[in-house]
């Protein structure tokens, strides 16, 4: 009798990975919606003021050059997270694990003298002269340099700090308010409406895809070859194109029957309070202060 390998190996891994990926993004946004409703410092700020102030901080991170000042900006982000009652462990995981880790891998070769020439701090080897065998070469010396450390830590700090401010924005603002707040950045009204609909239908489509994957998984016995996988995946995508088209037609009819004529209006119910203005002044002062000190 032919023995079938256990179902979790090989062929399923890709399906599982995708299902996992899908549920993870759904969960992440649901969690964000949850933290956005807790009482906290940033949650209480007017979304328009918050968008502008946090973007100002992201831009400051991009402009500042000194490592200590980048560190201060990162600490400010952590303090804001604590004041907004975001669990610190979660916040650190969210802002340090994904993109900064990836950046760390990218930044690693830059600590060596071969990318960043400078004063060697730790010499790994020194063979007196460069070696080469055909196209493959070995430099004379491999060392970790002061320049390399500066370059790499600057990149990682910068990436972490700017990501932190962005994540603060999305963790403390309900998506509906965030969308409306985009109007202050000059995003045309019709695009704000399309963005909002996109966000909503992402859930519907991800849910549909998730169901299709689970259905496929539960019907699959034995192994799928990579080719079968590709065919099934792309047929699903093709089907999704058709579904999306039909769905958009239905939605359009529904919009028409509710009186949509191509003009969009957004109900703005934001009101500025004294706290918002105080917050705006504080961020502006922090941003300019750090920027000026950095330039000195």
């Amino acid at each position: 009798m032919k023995h079938h390998p256990p179902a979790r190996r090989g062929s399923f891994r890709i399906l599982e990975k995708t299902v996992h990926h899908l549920s993870e993004s759904l969960e992440a946004t649901l969690f964000a919606e949850n933290t956005a409703q807790r009482p906290g410092l940033l949650q209480g700020i007017d979304p328009r003021v918050k968008v502008i102030s946090l973007l100002l901080l992201v831009v400051t991170v991009a402009l500042v050059q000194g490592l200590p000042f980048l560190g201060i900006l990162y600490l400010i982000a952590l303090a804001l997270a604590a004041l907004s009652r975001i669990p610190l462990g979660f916040f650190l995981k969210r802002t340090l694990v994904f993109i900064p880790l990836f950046t760390g891998v990218i930044a690693l070769p830059a600590i060596f003298n071969v990318v960043s020439p400078g004063k060697p701090l730790i010499v790994l080897y020194d063979i007196g002269r460069p070696l080469s065998w055909g196209p493959i070469g070995l430099p004379q010396q491999l060392a970790i340099t002061d320049t390399g450390i500066t370059v790499s830590s600057r990149l990682i700090l910068r990436v972490s700090a700017s990501l932190s401010f962005t994540v603060l924005l999305l963790l403390t603002t309900r998506w509906a308010s965030l969308l409306k707040a985009l109007r202050v950045l000059g995003v045309p009204r019709v695009f704000v409406v399309i963005l909002g609909m996109t966000y909503r239908y992402i859930y519907l489509l991800l849910h549909t895809v998730n169901t299709m994957f689970l259905a496929r998984k539960s019907r699959t016995v034995g192994r799928l070859s990579a080719g079968e996988h590709r065919r099934w995946l792309t047929t699903t995508m093709g089907l999704m194109v058709d579904k999306s088209y039909t769905l958009s037609e239905n939605v359009y009819q529904a919009m028409l029957s509710r009186g949509f004529r191509g003009e969009v209006s957004i109900m703005d119910t934001f009101a500025l309070h004294r706290a918002d203005i105080v917050w705006a002044c504080i961020t502006l002062a922090m941003a300019t202060g750090i920027f000026m000190m950095d330039r000195l």
Partner: protein, 342 residues
């Protein structure tokens, strides 16, 4: 390929936003003129579709997996202008709601993936597809060629943006402030990854989806809708001219805010342009066509040489595709079966 915040200097980010602005503006106007109110749900739902597509892990022969961007696919179904808006929407949602890709880098990411992905992919596809019926295999071939080219062109432009950072933006002590790798490393690393992995995934996904759609859902092709309304598909020669202009302007636009060329000393050039390439990368770089790595113009900076060779390389690729598509078109026109179908 999503560039996070911190890799690009504010100046480059601003230039990339500016590069995107005319495309966003024109796309908004084009789409409005095309179908007015009907386009609102179409764009929203197809953006959501593109978001979902990016979640699909597709296996490659050899065991790696990756995901497609879907810009060319969207352009084939909705047209390039709508695809620019759709993919830009995805990038904005990813940056603002999921923290994926930088907020200051939205302009750069949208230019690399949405604009280049939609236009380069769509023109190449149309060049192959011509005015053939949607059931013709030429649509599938066009989709494969278009998406492969678009993915690699996107990667190349991304690599240029990252690679000019250490040349243009350094601190007073001459230490790079943003992405630390020069053009040689950035281009070889990005191109190796995209020529061998990301490009083939994009091509497989786009090709198979288009093949599936051409079998059973022919009404979903923009081409079939155009054929139904006007009887003919409009000439796309002006679009080619546009693509050529994009290719020519992008690298120049990137360098525009930089310092004068002469300010770089020979020693500095040695450090940034022609420094050591890590072994693995150097081996991979061997896969890159030779004239592109060695090409420098005497008397000009090495970087300008890279840019020129980039334009040359892009020109060669465009030329080859143009030639092949001419041959395919001619052969199809001669075939009596095709003629009776069309």
């Amino acid at each position: 390929m999503h560039i996070p915040d911190g890799y690009l200097s504010p100046a480059t980010s601003a230039v990339m936003y500016a590069a995107c602005a005319p495309f966003w503006y024109l796309a908004g106007r084009k789409v409005k003129k095309l179908l007015t109110a009907r386009m609102v749900p179409v764009l929203a739902i197809f953006s959501a579709f593109a978001f979902a597509v990016q979640m699909f892990n597709v296996p490659l022969p050899g065991g790696t997996t990756g995901h497609a961007i879907g810009a060319t696919l969207l352009a084939i179904v909705l047209g390039p202008w709508a695809a620019v808006i759709g993919i830009s929407m995805v990038l904005i949602v990813q940056a603002l709601f999921f923290g994926d890709g930088g907020v200051t880098a939205i302009g750069a990411n949208a230019f690399n993936m949405a604009v280049i992905g939609a236009f380069a992919g769509y023109f190449t596809y149309r060049l192959f597809a011509g005015s053939s019926p949607v059931s013709s295999r030429r649509h599938v071939i066009g989709a494969i060629a278009g998406s492969y080219l678009a993915a690699n062109l996107s990667a190349f432009i991304t690599a240029l943006e990252l690679g000019v950072q250490p040349i243009l933006f350094r601190s007073a002590e001459g230490i790079p402030l943003y992405a630390p790798y020069g053009l040689n490393v950035a281009i070889s690393a990005m191109m190796a990854g995209h020529l061998l992995i990301a490009g083939p995934i994009e091509a497989i996904v786009t090709g198979l989806v288009v093949a599936y759609l051409s079998r059973s859902h022919q009404h979903l092709f923009l081409a079939s809708r155009l054929q139904n309304t006007n009887g003919t598909v409009r000439s796309f020669r002006p679009l080619w001219v546009g693509l050529g202009i994009i290719i020519l302007l992008t690298p120049l636009g990137l360098l525009a805010p930089g310092t004068a060329w002469g300010e770089w000393g020979a020693e500095e050039l040695q450090q940034i342009g022609l420094g050591f390439v890590p072994q693995g990368l150097e081996r991979l770089a061997g896969l890159w066509p030779a004239p592109l790595t060695d090409y420098t113009v005497p008397g000009w900076g090495a970087e300008l040489g890279y840019i020129l060779s980039a334009i040359l390389g892009a020109g060669i690729i465009v030329g080859i595709i143009w030639g092949v598509s001419k041959i395919v078109n001619k052969r199809e026109r001669k075939s009596p079966v095709e003629r009776s179908e069309g």
